[in-house]
Every structure is written in structure tokens, then in C-alpha cells.
């Protein structure tokens, strides 16, 4: 499985660390809403198909990435920086195949 890091280009999955379900929304740290916390910690969509995930390019640029991966085929349909302000750092077009 290859993940195309927006900064580094296509890299083997061994360079990446899975950081969990990308659909979760963390409650306000001060929140006492136990149902919201329970949902954040335990509730998962577990789809058979496209899944929003967070991966870190831990063996490369170390950026956190939003990845859409098909859980049936491992096909990756989109990769983007979690941090929006990193978008300008994406690999220039001439090096797309690097």
C-alpha cells in the first residue's frame, strides 16, 4: 500500500503511523458531557468502503494527513494535510511523480 504524502510524494505504508478514525470530533476538553466523550472514544462507523482516516508520515516529514482509504480495496482516493496552512507546502507539479 502506498500513501502519496502531499509533501514527500508516494511512500510505502511502512513510513506511516495510523492515528485513528478521521470522523471523530473531540469534545471541548472542559466538557462534562459523558455521552459525547463516550461517542468520541468508542463510536465508530466501521464502513465497508471509503473511510476518513488520520495518518502521520512518521518516517518522513512527520506531517499529519487526512486520508480517505477504501477498507475493502485499500485504494486511497485522497490525501491532504490536516493543517490547512500546510497546503502551500505541497509538492510542486513537476515533481508529482517523485
Amino acid at each position: 500500500m502506498l500513501i502519496t504524502c502531499p509533501y514527500c510524494g508516494p511512500r510505502d505504508v511502512i513510513e506511516f503511523t495510523y492515528q485513528g478514525d478521521g470522523n471523530r470530533e473531540r469534545p471541548d476538553p472542559a466538557s462534562q458531557n459523558f455521552e459525547a466523550w463516550n461517542a468520541y472514544v468508542y463510536d465508530r462507523l466501521n464502513p465497508a468502503g471509503d473511510h476518513n482516516e488520520i495518518w502521520q508520515h512518521s518516517g518522513g516529514c512527520r506531517a499529519h494527513l487526512r486520508v480517505v482509504r477504501n477498507t475493502l480495496t485499500h485504494e486511497i482516493s485522497s490525501v491532504a494535510f490536516v493543517r490547512g496552512d500546510h497546503a502551500s507546502a505541497a509538492r510542486r507539479k513537476a515533481e508529482d511523480k517523485a
Binding site: 502531499p6 509533501y7 514527500c8 511502512i14 518522513g60 494535510f81 500546510h86 507546502a89 511523480k97 517523485a98
Partner: protein, 195 residues
Amino acid sequence: MAERQSPLEPEFHVGSHGNFEHGVEILLTETRPGSIVQLAAWPGEEKKLIAAIRTVTGLALPDGAGGGSSDGVKSVFGFAPGKFTVADEAEGLAAAFAKAVTPAIGTVTDLSHGRTAIRIAGPKAEWVLAKFFAIDFALPAFPVGAGRSTAHHDVFAQIQRTGADQFDIYVFRSFARSFWKALCHASEEVGYEVQ
């Protein structure tokens, strides 16, 4: 400044090794830069950091991810969004950057004693490195001056291409001897010379 000792020393054997009867196709050496510095820009401050790099080193960074350049004495390359590695033959680079990179622009981390720089050169350099790292070393994909962040068996490595058939590899100092030995073994079959 304290005299720096090479972590490679017990395994650093100058001369030709391996299968070199038909010629040496790999040159290995330690470049021993006086300074290795890591710079990081706060969000939105990247352009100011790149300007500071130009002021301190005289090196202009080409556009784009992993872009870099080297004048043979000083080298710079991007290794992550808004982050750069700079090396200089001379000591004192961190102090110079501490003045140019204000706390509002970003951070300066002196890694001069934390990294070891190994140079691999020669017609088989791409070929030997391809045994270590699953990245494209071909010149069009990895231009001269550019940098790449990758890992070899969990040993993090930053690689800068400093010539058509020359690469400088920055590895953790504590892993450098092990990495160096592996690099020597991998070069044996094409014949290598340690300089």
C-alpha cells in the same frame, strides 16, 4: 568548542574494499560539517524564514517541497512543511540563525552534535541507496540540491542530493556507526573506497 569525535571511527577504514578489482564504483566519506541546524517556521512565517536562510547562508531555496541547494560549503533543504535543515563546514551557524530567526518567525535547533553526515558518491550511488530506501533516486525525480525525509529500518534519515551521483545522508549520531556499517556492506559488491 569541544573537539568532536566521529562516531564512525572504529569502523572507518580508509582505502578500497569489497569487489573493487574492476574499479571502485562507490566513494564513502564523512563530511563532518561544523554546524547542522534545523529551522522551523511558525504558520504563515515560512517566507520570512526562507529570507533569513538567504541572509545567513547566501543560499536561495527553490520553490516547492523538498527543495534545496548547496554551494559545496553550506547546504540547505526542506525536509517537512515549513522546516529546513542547514549545514555548514564552519561552526557557529546556530548562533547566526538565533539572531536572524526571531522568536516571532520560528525556531532554531542546533543538531551539530546530534547528527552525522555521510556522503555516498559514484556511479553506483543511486543503485546502493535504492537497496536502503523505497524512494525514487532518479535525477528527474530527485534533482540536485533537493532533500528527502525517509527511514531505513526505523533509522530516520534526511538525504540531500549534492551532485548528479552524490548524496549526503544525515542520520542520528547514535545510529550512525550501524548505518555506516550497513552502507559499507551494501557497497561491497560494486567495490567501494572510504576517503
